[in-house]
């Protein structure tokens, strides 16, 4: 009961958002004279044979893994009130560096994979660290600097790909880095299907799924069960109170951005280690930005982010079937967009509901009113308190950066 009550508001917001998004997108489709029910039917149709259905599930899982990692990377910073918009640049730069170094060395299997992953994490962490250093030493807003660093990262990646790291022959239509030797490939998880007695689909289930689950658990423990996670959450809720409690706000900014960046470095790994084995001009882009939406929908909670990543992956998978059925594929984009908008609104609605129920709880148990000097503390209605809180938040964040 109490667990349900604690979870209630947490679940309410995203569920509300998804329902609202489905309705709104349906209305948009109806306005465009497309039957929304047909579209939704195509989206949930995974095919007729068990092999086809399993393939669809593998496609969704493979897509969900990088989205989950992107969501985690964003969420770690979000928890502290830092907006790491730079995940996109961090993972792209990390992936090309890791691809180049992975292709240049020869190592036995697990070590080779490990090296590639560590390089990716290090590069992305350093790139995110620049944002943190700018913030604590010069007071530069992390939003601005991380967006700017995205452009720089993408520029550097293009230069490296066409210049020093180029591995494809002259005149090839797709430019790529040299291919990583097989020792640096991540084995697939398709044996699981055999073990479970399911149809083994032709698609390879990314072995990185296991890594993502481990990373999710580690981050979850770090955020919710450790002192570090407490300091991080406290800083996010009230920088001034955190500082007074002894949290070193500058150090926290740097550590948090380094962790956020290190996780971001993993985003490109499932594709690099599992399928492409090189960084190419058409390497999956935009995961960093989708990660922001995923983190938002998952309310910065690792489990929530996992569900959000699966949902977004499910929507992405529908792109091809929709096109085959001659429906506009932009439906998916519309749904994703409306989910993001709806989740922002419903988060706020859920917060107010939670607050009201907390106040009702107090009313039953509350103290008798006594004559006292008002003015300051208890006198503030919740709304006003919130408003000032938000204001201080910005101030403090700037202060922390200054």
């Amino acid at each position: 009961m109490s667990a349900l009550r604690r979870l209630g508001p947490t679940l309410l917001a995203p569920v509300l958002a998804v329902v609202a998004a489905i309705i709104i997108s349906g209305l948009v489709m109806a306005a465009l004279q497309v039957n929304p029910f047909d579209v939704y039917a195509v989206m949930v149709d995974f095919g007729d044979t068990p092999a086809q259905q399993m393939t669809a599930i593998v496609v969704i899982l493979n897509r969900a893994v990088p989205l989950f990692l992107a969501g985690l990377a964003v969420a770690v910073a979000f928890r502290m009130g830092l907006f790491n918009i730079g995940v996109e640049g961090q993972y792209r730069l990390a992936t090309i560096m890791a691809a180049a170094i992975g292709a240049a060395v020869a190592l036995p299997g697990p070590l080779h994979v490990l090296l590639i992953v560590v390089v990716a994490m290090a590069v992305a962490a350093i790139w995110a660290g620049i944002v943190a250093v700018l913030k604590v030493t010069r007071g530069v807003s992390e939003v601005i600097s991380s967006i700017m660093l995205n452009f720089i990262a993408l520029g550097i990646a293009s230069y490296l790909l066409t210049g020093p790291f180029r591995g494809s022959p002259e005149g090839a239509s797709i430019i790529s880095t040299a291919e990583i030797a097989e020792s640096g490939w991540m084995p697939s998880l398709n044996w699981v299907f055999d073990a479970l007695g399911l149809a083994n689909p032709p698609r390879q289930l990314s072995g990185f799924l296991l890594v993502a689950i481990v990373v999710g658990i580690v981050i979850s423990v770090l955020l919710d069960r450790t002192r570090f996670g407490f300091d991080l959450k406290a800083t996010g809720l009230s920088p001034s109170a955190a500082r007074a409690s002894g949290v070193d706000s500058r150090g926290m900014v740097i550590k948090t951005m380094l962790i956020s960046g290190a996780v971001a470095g993993l985003i490109g790994m499932p594709d690099l280690l599992g399928s492409t084995h090189s960084y190419t001009t058409d390497f999956t882009a935009g995961l960093g930005f989708l990660g922001i939406a995923v983190a938002l929908l998952g309310r910065n909670n690792p489990v929530g982010i996992a569900f959000a990543a699966l949902l977004f992956a499910f929507l992405d998978r529908a792109l091809v079937p929709l096109q085959i059925a001659d429906y506009p594929a932009s439906v998916v984009t519309i749904i994703q967009g409306t989910i993001v908008l709806a989740v922002v609104i419903s988060n706020e609605v859920a917060r107010r509901i939670a607050l009201r129920s907390a106040e009702r709880g107090m009313a039953q148990n509350g103290p008798p009113p006594a004559v006292g000097d008002g003015g300051s503390g208890p006198a503030q209605p919740a709304g006003a308190g919130r408003a000032t809180g938000a204001g201080q938040h910005t101030d403090e964040r700037q202060e922390a950066g200054a």
Binding site: S2, R6, D224, R225, T226, R227, F228, G229, F230, D231, K233, A234, L237, S238, S240, A241, A242, R243, A244, S245, G246, V247, D248, A354, L355, A358, E359, G361, M362, Q364, N365, G366, P367, P369, A370, V371, G372, D373, G374, G375, S376, G377, P378, A379, Q380, P381, A382, G385, T388, G389, Q392
Partner: protein, 524 residues
Amino acid sequence: MATAGEPPSSGGADGGAAPLAVELRGITKRFPGVVANKDIELRVRRGEVHAIVGENGAGKSTLMKTLYGMHRPDEGQILLHGREAHFRSPADAITAGIGMVHQHFMLADNFTVLENIVLGSEPTRGARLDRDEARRRIREISDAYSLGLDPDAMVEDLGVGDRQRVEIAKVLYRGATTLILDEPTAVLVPQEVDELFGNLAELKREGLTVIFISHKLDEVRKVADSITVIRRGTTVGTADPRTTTTRQLAEMMVGSELPSPETRTSTVRPTPVLQLREGTVTNVDGRALVDGVSLTVREGEVVGIAGVEGNGQAELIEAIMGLRPLSAGSIGLGGEDISHWSTRARRDGGIGFIPEDRHRQGMLLDAALWENRILGHQTRPPAVKGPFIDRKGARDDTARIMREYDVRAPGPDTLAVALSGGNQQKLIIGREMSASPRLLLAAHPTRGVDIGAQAVIWELLKDARAEGMGILLVSADLDELIGLSDTLHVMLRGRLVATLDPSAVTPEELGGHMTGARTTAGAA
């Protein structure tokens, strides 16, 4: 919307039994858990400067917010020029001729004086701002009340006094006939205060009514025609500044009844806990906010710091807590020099902290009580095991604090925001006491809490003192300071200007020292 009074007449010239511009009858305003104002009676005559004095937290601001339509009273009537008025919002109050000059200016720096003044009620010609009309009216106002404003100056280039005059002009521009000035002198230097009083005299001469909120008694006596005193949320009387002394006013303000006579058995031990030597804190401009303060707190001793707010007490506490750097001097804790320790190291070293603004520095409002139990104690049991948070330990210990310190809330999982101020404060005190610190920094420990909780908190501090804790107490409540302190320092403009014996000093004397009216030679 507003059922406000008649249009403002020229007023003031009526003489004799001057009609009342503002009358409040039996105003009561409750907030969850506290009554901020109770049976307020206020009668302000047209064309006078009427001062409302009271300590911090006495309920002055709540009252003015009621009068300015920022919230509605639960009981009582507001009468303007003899007619009852109901305000739903400040817009209604403005329509009825009431204007508010806030303590903190609300001006856009990168706008001109003209733009700031017309903002929100711009005169338009077609769809465009009619600058000529605006300039003409601002000049008119500026000349009529000798405000000396240049409509085209940028606000960012103006000094504090000028900015305040812009605020006043802004209110006059909207046709206010009754001006509320909330602690207008708090931000001014003495010369600017004199200028402001000159402006107020002009306003009065033109028949406008001014309500002047302050706790600086000398200034009030200089400028006001009549005075209403507020204490603990209610009006305790009115005074005529010509026949009342500052001392009598202070007496009314703090209440003549002193706290129950204590046993006064000193628990002071010789070992010093805190030794501050020539501590200096400067702001970004290099101005000293805390200026060469030296003080010692011994085991079992309560050292009180009295002073009008804004004289460096907050900065002093933050410096000891490690939240502000000392620009000179040193801090010793139990013999160790902690001047360069981090806040966390200081907490671990045995400093407990009851911050003056619990929402800003003491609590995570959107977190559960058990998480607030951890705040500030992230490094030690029972809430923490090694690098991990001990959720069960934190919840259990929160339940214990709630029981022992009478924190009224459904349970450790309740969000802190749902608690009343008194209960939040008891939780903070319980939390800080649980770590048994050597030194407790208590800044306004009973501010904004109801009387019942206040008595409990006082008892807790006395018990802690008896057990040998050193306490540095900053407060605006003179009864509290005199009642609890073993040693009492007075802080004025960043310096300790007097050291008094709390068993011998009266609130009036103390008030005199706080405003600088008395000098060290006078007492101690």
